[in-house]
């Protein structure tokens, strides 16, 4: 494959991951994968893919844009929520690149992904004057659970599926 063709392949894989993100978002809603107070957002597990290859940054961000098309907060979520995803994913990629151990990489993804929820909390605070720290606590804990479970799932998937090349 030439460099150009390799680039095209990465784009298409990213696009499929985006489609998967949207599909999983809707399926989580349809099949009620929430468990009591813990809402398992299945699509968030795809965030953990970023530790394998840079191309997933675009995939998950675009998936996030498309899934947010139906969000109640509309345009704010489409722009700001997707920007949050893009920034968080880029940081996860840049840091995990320097780590060799897969488990440590995934742990980094969980921590950084949870940390960046402050952007969503800030969105809600600015928009609705919701108290920042409380909003941060609730959104970040939800994200932490989703990402932790996601990291487990991605870990097992990576044993069977080639996510890197």
């Amino acid at each position: 494959m030439t460099k150009e063709q390799h680039h095209l392949r990465n784009l298409i894989i990213a696009a499929l991951v985006a489609a998967l993100y949207v599909a999983l978002t809707y399926l989580s809603q349809m099949f009620g994968l929430g468990y009591g107070a813990i809402q398992l957002r299945l699509s968030e597990m795809l965030v953990c893919l970023v530790v394998f290859n840079k191309r997933y940054i675009w995939g998950v961000t675009i998936g996030c844009v498309l899934a947010n098309l139906t969000s109640t907060l509309g345009i704010v979520d489409i722009i700001w929520g997707s920007l949050e995803t893009l920034i968080a994913l880029t940081v996860i990629y840049l840091i995990s690149k320097r780590i060799t151990n897969l488990k440590a990489k995934l742990a980094t993804a969980i921590i950084i992904g949870t940390f960046f929820m402050f952007m969503i909390a800030a969105e809600l605070t600015v928009l609705t004057k919701a108290p920042f720290w409380l909003t941060y606590l609730t959104t970040a804990s939800g994200e932490f659970v989703s990402l932790t479970l996601g990291a487990f799932l991605v870990y097992f998937i990576s044993k069977r599926v080639d996510l890197i090349s």
Binding site: W58, T72, P131
Partner: protein
């Protein structure tokens, strides 16, 4: 495949339905900025009038808009309650320990509730009257100026259209795999959290595999047909900016300026 058309689109041919998606996106963005700029009660009245006019013109029953409030209901009640009971002010109507209802609290709470209502109704208006595909097309156009800062607009456009194309297919695929696993006795809906997460592994591995397979096939197909890059790619759906779009934009901008002044 009917249920696979995701989104909340409500089919119709009203004036709002026929407006250009780019226009609707631009108006939505200006509207959010406005919400932050306005300060007086009569400004809220003006924006409320705009939203109401939009709702009436769209021909969609109010029920669908109210349904949009549901996922946010708790957040709304919580923040409004917080403003109502914890704002300290000069004119206190009622007090119990740290809780008090003051004139200032009442005013703040009303403004917050209105803000929520206006934002949610406006974005619901967009998603109810515009198909997801059209919104994505509109975003693609609006992203074009970002080329100046070397944002890969063409690549993003390609990924957006491929992703939209394959959402229904992957949802089909997921349902199929889920049913296959159910027939083998996997229970996705019961058991402890750990158990349910474990049940997802045999669902996600084939799903991931087939996504990568689709990607490989599509890459081969596109390369063998000589796909180069997005520059000069022609489109199947072409957005048309009509005279009514210009007039709507002009009217909205005039209203916006009046509201801010």
């Amino acid at each position: 495949m009917d249920k696979m058309i995701f989104g909340r689109y409500y089919p119709g041919g009203s004036f709002i339905h026929r407006l250009d998606p780019r226009l609707k996106l631009i108006i939505n963005i200006i509207f959010i900025v406005l919400i932050f700029l306005i300060k007086h009660w009569y400004d809220y009245l003006i924006l409320g009038g705009v939203v109401l006019a939009g709702v009436l013109l769209s021909g969609v029953s109010l029920r669908f808009f109210l349904r949009g409030l549901r996922p946010m209901l708790w957040l709304i009640l919580f923040t409004v309650g917080l403003q109502l009971f914890f704002t300290s002010g000069q004119h206190v109507y009622w007090q119990w320990g740290v809780l008090s209802i003051s004139q200032e609290g009442l005013i703040n709470a009303t403004y917050i509730a209105l803000r929520f209502l206006l934002i949610i109704f406006m974005s619901t208006l967009l998603t109810l009257t515009t198909q997801p595909l059209a919104i994505a097309d509109g975003m693609e156009y609006l992203m074009r100026p970002l080329k100046v800062v070397h944002f890969p607009v063409n690549d993003v456009a390609l990924m957006l259209s491929i992703a939209l194309r394959f959402v229904p297919k992957l949802m089909d695929e997921t349902t199929k795999i889920m049913n296959a696993q159910r027939a083998r006795g996997v229970d996705f809906n019961n058991g402890s959290l750990i158990k349910r997460v474990k049940a997802l592994i045999p669902l996600l591995i084939p799903l991931m595999m087939s996504s990568l397979d689709i990607a490989t096939d599509l890459t081969t197909a596109m390369i063998s047909r000589g796909y180069r890059d997005g520059e000069g790619r022609t489109r199947y759906r072409i957005l048309k900016w009509r005279r009514q779009d210009t007039w709507t934009l002009v009217t909205f901008v005039i209203i916006a300026i009046v509201a801010v002044l």
